[in-house]
Symmetry: C2
Subunit: 359 residues, 2 copies
């Protein structure tokens, strides 16, 4: 069945009504909706409204607190630790990123580690909050363990994404936002829906053998760190995922590694937690704490122009500046609407019926 297309407004209204229905304040529901839908607009369909019913199931299981008391529990001039009080990461993360930016205003940079949170949507949204303030923004999070370190058969890390948003002047901003695995889990979900195989190097079987089965994770398999195998640097992808895990959770007091609670409500969190909830890490750096912002942004224009216009391999596409595809998708989907897989639509209809929210 073909995708069905819905307007941004229609989907926003539904998400807003849903978040309101489970008890979020008007401000929180509005913010959660904006963050959630930014994924659909930017083409990262796995992290958008398709996850809404998952958030609600976590709330039903009392693993998401709709009325959190989000607060700073430790700080220094350029740092803070935020306790998310079990709230939606969609709400906790922008709160924490704002604090990072306030710290940066005074101290030049601000770095905020978050504990006791939940899935925060796309990392890029939070990093990009810095752009309008002539700041560089960074965001990381740990996540449910699905990734095996190089040489291991155990799922010990999440896909642990990193986002870095860097403003330019006339050029659009540089926005990198990527899972530290060879392929994000959302890429596997697309293959699953299409009944297609995955390339060698994305996933491994339960026993560690290479696999092309996009459903391998259901049989105890694991995602593979960026690099695919040791010969091609998967130990570096493991370093990246580990770094994100430690900054997000060991610094903040959240759960790390295999102790990170699963995103799906039908799996219980580990019985022996080492911290609270999942963890995030945010950074904001004021450009003019290093050099005049205009000077920096002019050089960023030059950087972007040079790379975008690099000579390419015949028959291949242009060099892609990080953030370009998502920004272009955002413009298209705002205008033409957001395509949803029929299974996602059905799931949202059921959600609406369950909560008494008009679809």
């Amino acid at each position: 069945m073909a995708d069905q297309v819905y307007s941004y407004e229609k989907l926003s209204q539904f998400a807003l009504a849903t978040f309101t229905k489970i008890g979020c304040s008007a401000d929180h529901a509005t913010l959660a909706t904006k963050v959630l839908l930014s994924a659909d607009l930017r083409g990262i369909d796995s992290h958008g409204i398709a996850r809404l019913s998952g958030y609600v199931r976590l709330w039903e299981a009392k693993r998401v607190n709709a009325t959190p008391n989000i607060r700073v529990v430790h700080e220094s001039p350029s740092t803070a630790v935020v306790d998310g009080d079990g709230g939606l990461g969609l709400v906790v993360a922008p709160y924490a990123m704002k604090i990072a930016m306030e710290k940066a205003r005074v101290a030049g940079t601000g770095w905020v580690a978050v504990k006791n949170s939940n899935h925060f949507g796309i990392a890029g949204y939070h990093a990009m909050m810095a752009l309008d303030h002539d700041m560089i923004g960074m965001a990381m999070t740990n996540a449910s363990p699905l990734v095996a370190p190089t040489f291991s058969v155990e799922r010990l890390l999440g896909t642990n994404p990193i986002a870095v948003a860097i403003p330019a002047d006339k050029q659009p901003a540089f926005v990198a936002d990527f899972a530290t695995t060879t392929a994000a889990n959302g890429k596997l979900e697309i293959l699953q829906r299409k009944n297609q195989d995955a390339p060698i190097g994305w996933i491994q079987k339960k026993n560690g053998d290479a696999s092309i089965n996009a459903n391998e994770l259901k049989d105890g398999g694991a995602l593979i760190p960026l690099g695919s195998d040791r010969e091609h640097g998967s130990h570096k992808g493991f370093c990246l995922g580990a770094w994100v895990d430690i900054f997000s959770a060991v610094l903040s007091g959240a759960n790390y590694g295999p102790w990170v609670p699963p995103f799906v409500a039908f799996l219980s969190p580990p019985a022996d937690p080492v911290g609270e909830g999942i963890g995030h890490f945010f950074g904001a750096m004021r450009i003019d704490a290093f050099r005049p912002a205009h000077e920096f942004k002019t050089h960023m224009d030059n950087w972007i122009n040079r790379f975008r216009n690099a000579e390419t391999i015949a028959s291949q596409e242009k060099v892609i500046i990080p953030g370009d595809p998502e920004r272009e998708m955002n413009a298209i989907r705002l205008k033409e609407g957001i395509p949803l897989n029929p299974k996602v639509v059905e799931d949202l209809q059921l959600l609406g019926e369950k909560l008494g929210v008009h679809w």
Copy 2:
């Protein structure tokens, strides 16, 4: 011909005498020697004493200043920009990292961008300076352009390494230090010396085709970002290399991308520089700006234990904690000596004769 083994003391004395001979102060020569030799000790042979004659040739070409006036040219409570005055990166980098740590002492974190510097040895050395102070250390640098962005045939980025050093309590520290390419250039040099081919995914030909020729860079080929190809995430490796380039050079006012001056003296720097020298970026974060250091380090022990003892793939090695192999090598080489390739020995002998320094 087999490698020849030399003691750490012997190689240190030679490096110290060489740096002194070209005009470095006693303090600078001692520091440069320590940083340079830390690469040999840790097994990163491409970045150690094998580079000494290269540094001297850059000094002969007046591209390294042996008596730099290294200074802070811009700062905020948690940031600084350092002008390396064309000095050896081996000396400029520890200076900058110290400032990052001083900032962290007061502001919680410190972030220092450096311009007008040169090759700084191994990134890990600088990041590890933080460990004894209950801080997390970070170090990045850009480098001579040898890497083609995904879809391009042009060499626009260096191997741009990232190092992150994180203290633990009873366990040794977590020390990640890796080039943001599939393979570091040093790995190619080893294959070249052994007349062996490289795996597919490390390098590409001048026209962008895959290559297994370890000498391909001499024919205009390029290294490939971590990920190897688009299907396996090379665009993420490109994001990482770009991030390092921008933080190191666009923030500081150094040369970036294809404008980075080449490390080898026989190639001239670009005639149209966009900044000064090469750039680095350093970070220091005081652990107790987030949570009590002992608490953090105890959890790091738990993290490291859990990952080190993860179930492995039959017949494969254990999971490697970042920093373990280098630390073990360091202990062995301090005791048993440092093996040098005969070509490196010959190069050092010639250097000694040229400068009148006893080999």
